[in-house]
């Protein structure tokens, strides 16, 4: 079926089965590969995007559910790809190792900072606990979120 939505402030029109995970539409139909596939079951957070401003697992979201909605991916977080406070903090704190989970981590963290300007350490951990990092960058992620919150 034909489905239209907005992605990173551009209109997207795709032909896909209604139940196709949004993740595959973003990655394989629209060729925006910053959003990552990690588990396909909503267990790791690598595929996190924003749907109407809320962090959502795109592997668990059917494309038909975003018809008419606004999707933001890591590519759309800032105009130049480096100037969002979290992106700056991620670079300053040298967070990523393999980097694969980091798009999801940043999108998840961006939702937190959008609603809570000064999260405590506990609030950060509670908000981020659904996002797995196999390289073990967790301490750096916490430090970067705190740094971005102070910015």
């Amino acid at each position: 079926m034909a489905i239209s939505f907005t992605i990173n402030e551009r209109a997207a029109h795709v032909q896909a089965d209604a139940d196709t995970p949004l993740l595959w539409v973003i990655r394989e139909h629209l060729k925006m590969t910053g959003t990552k596939f990690g588990c396909g079951a909503g267990l790791c957070g690598a595929c996190t995007v924003h749907i109407d401003g809320k962090a959502r697992r795109s592997c668990q979201t059917a494309v038909s559910d975003v018809a008419g909605k606004k999707v933001t991916t890591i590519e759309g977080l800032s105009a130049d790809g480096v100037s969002h406070p979290l992106q700056k903090a991620w670079i300053e704190e040298q967070v990523p190792q393999c980097g694969y989970c980091q798009s999801g981590q940043i999108m998840q963290a961006a939702e937190l900072l959008a609603k809570n300007k000064r999260p405590t350490r506990e609030e950060i951990v509670a908000h981020m606990d659904g996002n797995i990092c196999r390289c073990g960058t967790y301490p750096r992620i916490i430090a970067a979120i705190q740094k971005a919150a102070e910015a």
């Binding site: 029109h13 595959w24 040298q94 990523p96 190792q97 393999c98 797995i132 073990g136």
Partner: protein
């Protein structure tokens, strides 16, 4: 507002406009970079270094970047002796040319494993840097019409002090020529350590800006014109084959192109990824029931392996033999002995295994996140029936490696399918495929016996390791050549402790299950056994475990330094609050000196171990990137912590019982204690840091637990609540 449309049609029209030449620049960052380098008019001083007229210096990174930081550390070593201006450096992952970029410490192969990138390339690339600097100087001398001996360099600039004239490297590069033959340089031409600008300083990692905005390209991000997708229904048990494939439901799914068997299962090829996945779900396959692995049940096998471990008459291969340990133990006044069991753990790279292949004539192109060019070339050659030198291997970023990505299974699937289908094929494994088809760390059973004299001093130490062989599966000729030793599955029994007689031997278990290399390899379980045993010896002798280690390592200043440092960091001798204890472990595995202390408490009711703090000290020789070393230690210890406490693959009749992050949990943010690391740089050859943090974690925790339980010891990994409870309940 601009508009994007994505349909199958637009992909085809893209094909028409791009054509064969365009392919290289449409594959993604890693390919476009390489293609650009090949056609760049910049001055190419040697195979590692090219310099643009504007002074931009392009350096080759020979190792793949999987998070370990060598894409920055190795080029930093080139830049050091080139005397480059780091702000003008850009780094490219080197193409698949082993003759140029092979690792001198890995048989000349482009293999990013064993924590050997910096250690293997350190000297080679510094010499390349020095050589290119020499070429720049020779050219500058001609331009300035002065003797080359009067020239010196500042970062990126040639200086003629006498006349006060300066020439940027870019200016020289504009007209420079490469002398034939290339100037010879030796280690005498390398910069003295006192003049280092980059080695030992913290440079921001070059890959990180690409990893905060989705621009970094991983294997899974490969996009080829006319590409189709494949999902594979894998055998439920290693080694089985499909005997009957009912694909009637699959073939009804829109977009499915073909269903075909591959050596590892049955593949569904489709126009879209989602169609291939649906097609896989709809398959109905009857599997053979003949695999040897059907008898594999690791809980049951533990008993069998324990018998082998305790039978010193059993055929084995000596990994290490110093003196007569058997004789010394036979005559000892006391023998301390224990068995240790470590269960399988899975890699769980965040990027599930995947590969994209294109086959045209006798040539193969493979894009897959991989740790080994040669293994991918062999996979491509085998899969397409061609020669390895006809296989071109892309080297994108890896979404985790940890030893998994030397294996060629998914690359073979992609090549075979691409050859049959004609179109490029992208094979994407689900997380369930990734875990159930993983090449896990071996299931290992060990026995250590330590003979003591009447004063409690060690007279002999013997260590038996029973585990499946990585080497026998992955590199059979080498395994044979080195006499059946396995420096992967059975590494880590060796140590620098001063014991008069020491024997480590290996029994290759052949129970039908193939295994892999997992971060830290054998040391992940052998050091668990060794280090908890050292604590048992200390307890038998009635001395502090730190003091015993210091005494046994008295001749090794580097060992003493990491122990002393970590003891100070943790305030080792200070009494902890009731219910908490410290445990210590030391490792010199992989030639890196590491010591760790864990502060632990225990809930006897639930059996849950809580780790409150970890301190570690590490000496990896000369440190190239200190902050990155600390971060690698942090990450490796986090992975080691998961393996120590919660990670386990169990098999019942050969079927893995875990398949995603619900049944195979890994550590999350809330599970991580504070981790403090001190990095000690010494004037020794740089050694590996990617894995050094893994081995010390489990024994440090186990040793702390023993102090809380009055000597009741945990001898199985992971130290799950059930095992803790059964140990506490036992005698």
């Amino acid at each position: 507002m601009s508009t994007i449309r994505a349909t199958a049609l637009s992909r085809r029209s893209f094909l028409v406009s791009s054509g064969a030449v365009g392919i290289a620049v449409t594959f993604g960052g890693f390919e476009s970079m390489t293609a650009e380098a090949a056609t760049n008019p910049a001055f190419k001083a040697n195979s590692w270094i090219s310099i643009d007229g504007d002074g931009t210096v392009t350096l080759m990174s020979p190792a793949v970047e999987m998070g370990q930081g060598s894409m920055t550390a190795v080029p930093a070593c080139i830049a050091e002796d080139l005397d480059a201006d780091w702000s003008k450096v850009r780094v490219i992952t080197a193409p698949d040319n082993e003759a140029l970029y092979g690792n001198p410490k890995f048989f000349g192969h482009m293999v990013t494993v064993g924590s050997r990138a910096v250690t293997g390339y350190y000297q080679k690339v510094r010499l390349a840097g020095a050589q290119a600097r020499r070429i720049i100087l020779v050219n500058a001398a001609e331009m300035l019409n002065v003797p080359v001996g009067e020239l010196s360099t500042e970062p990126g600039v040639v200086v003629h002090a006498k006349s006060g004239r300066k020439l940027g490297y870019g200016e020289v590069a504009k007209t420079a020529t490469v002398p034939n033959p290339l100037p010879k340089v030796t280690t005498a031409d390398l910069k003295p350590q006192s003049q280092f600008r980059y080695i030992g300083k913290d440079l921001p990692r070059v890959d990180i800006p690409l990893k905060v905005n989705g621009k970094a390209k991983y294997g899974l991000d490969t996009e080829l014109p006319d590409m189709v997708y494949a999902s594979v229904l894998h055998t439920p048990v290693q080694g089985e084959k499909p005997v009957k494939i009912d694909d009637s439901a699959t073939k009804k799914i829109k977009g499915v192109i073909a269903v075909m068997p591959v050596p590892t299962g049955v593949a569904v090829v489709a126009e879209t990824l989602e169609a291939s996945m649906k097609g896989k779900e709809a398959l109905n396959v009857t599997w053979s029931q003949t695999s040897k692995a059907r008898h594999y049940d690791n809980e049951k096998l533990a008993g069998e392996y324990r018998k082998v471990a305790a039978d010193w008459g059993h055929a084995s291969v000596d990994m290490l033999k110093k003196g007569d340990a058997d004789g010394a133990i036979g005559k000892a006044s006391k023998v301390v002995a224990a068995d240790f069991v470590a269960h399988h753990v899975a890699h769980c790279c965040m990027e599930p295994m995947n590969a994209t292949a294109r086959v045209a004539g006798d040539e193969v192109w493979l894009w897959t996140s991989n740790q080994s060019v040669i293994d991918m070339k062999l996979a491509g050659a085998h899969g397409a029936g061609t020669k390895p030198d006809k296989v071109h291997v892309g080297r994108p970023f890896l979404g985790g490696g940890f030893g998994r990505r030397t294996d060629w299974d998914v690359a073979l699937e992609a090549t075979m399918l691409a050859k049959k289908i004609g179109n490029p094929v992208k094979v994407v494994w689900s997380r369930e495929d990734d875990i159930t088809q993983d090449m896990w760390r071996p299931f290992a059973v060990q026995r250590i016996e330590v003979g003591l004299d009447d004063k409690g001093d060690i007279v002999g130490w013997r260590h038996r390791i029973v585990a499946a062989s990585y080497m026998a599966r992955a590199i059979p000729p080498l395994f044979k050549k080195i006499g059946g030793k396995d420096p992967v599955s059975a590494v880590g029994g060796e140590f620098r402790y001063g014991v008069p007689a020491h024997r480590v031997d290996y029994v290759r278990a052949q129970s039908g299950f193939e295994v892999g290399a997992w971060r830290g390899v054998g040391a992940g379980y052998t050091k668990f056994a060794v280090e908890t045993m050292v604590d048992e010896v200390a307890a038998a002798k009635g001395v502090d475990p730190l003091d015993l280690r210091m005494a046994l390592l008295a001749k090794h200043p580097r060992s003493l330094a990491v122990l002393k440092t970590v003891a100070e960091m943790a305030d080792w001798k200070k009494k902890r609050p009731e219910g908490r204890a410290l445990g210590l472990a030391y490792s010199d595995a992989l030639e890196t000196y590491t010591a760790a202390v864990a502060e632990v408490s225990l809930d006897p009711k639930s059996g849950k171990i809580s780790v409150h703090h970890i301190w570690a000290a590490v000496d990896p020789g000369l440190v190239v990137q200190p902050k990155n070393v600390a971060i690698q230690m942090e990450g490796a210890m986090t992975m080691g912590l998961g393996a120590a406490l919660i990670e386990q693959i169990t098999l019942e009749k050969g079927e893995p019982q875990q398949s995603n992050f619900d049944s195979y949990p890994v550590l999350r943010m809330a599970d991580i204690p504070p981790i403090d690391v001190k990095v000690i740089s010494t004037e020794n050859e740089p050694t590996g840091i990617g894995e050094a943090g893994v081995p010390v974690v489990a024994p440090a925790i186990a040793n702390a637990v023993a102090r809380l339980t009055g000597g009741k010891r945990l001898r199985q990994l992971p130290m799950s609540p059930e095992r803790v409870k059964s140990t506490l309940g036992g005698a």
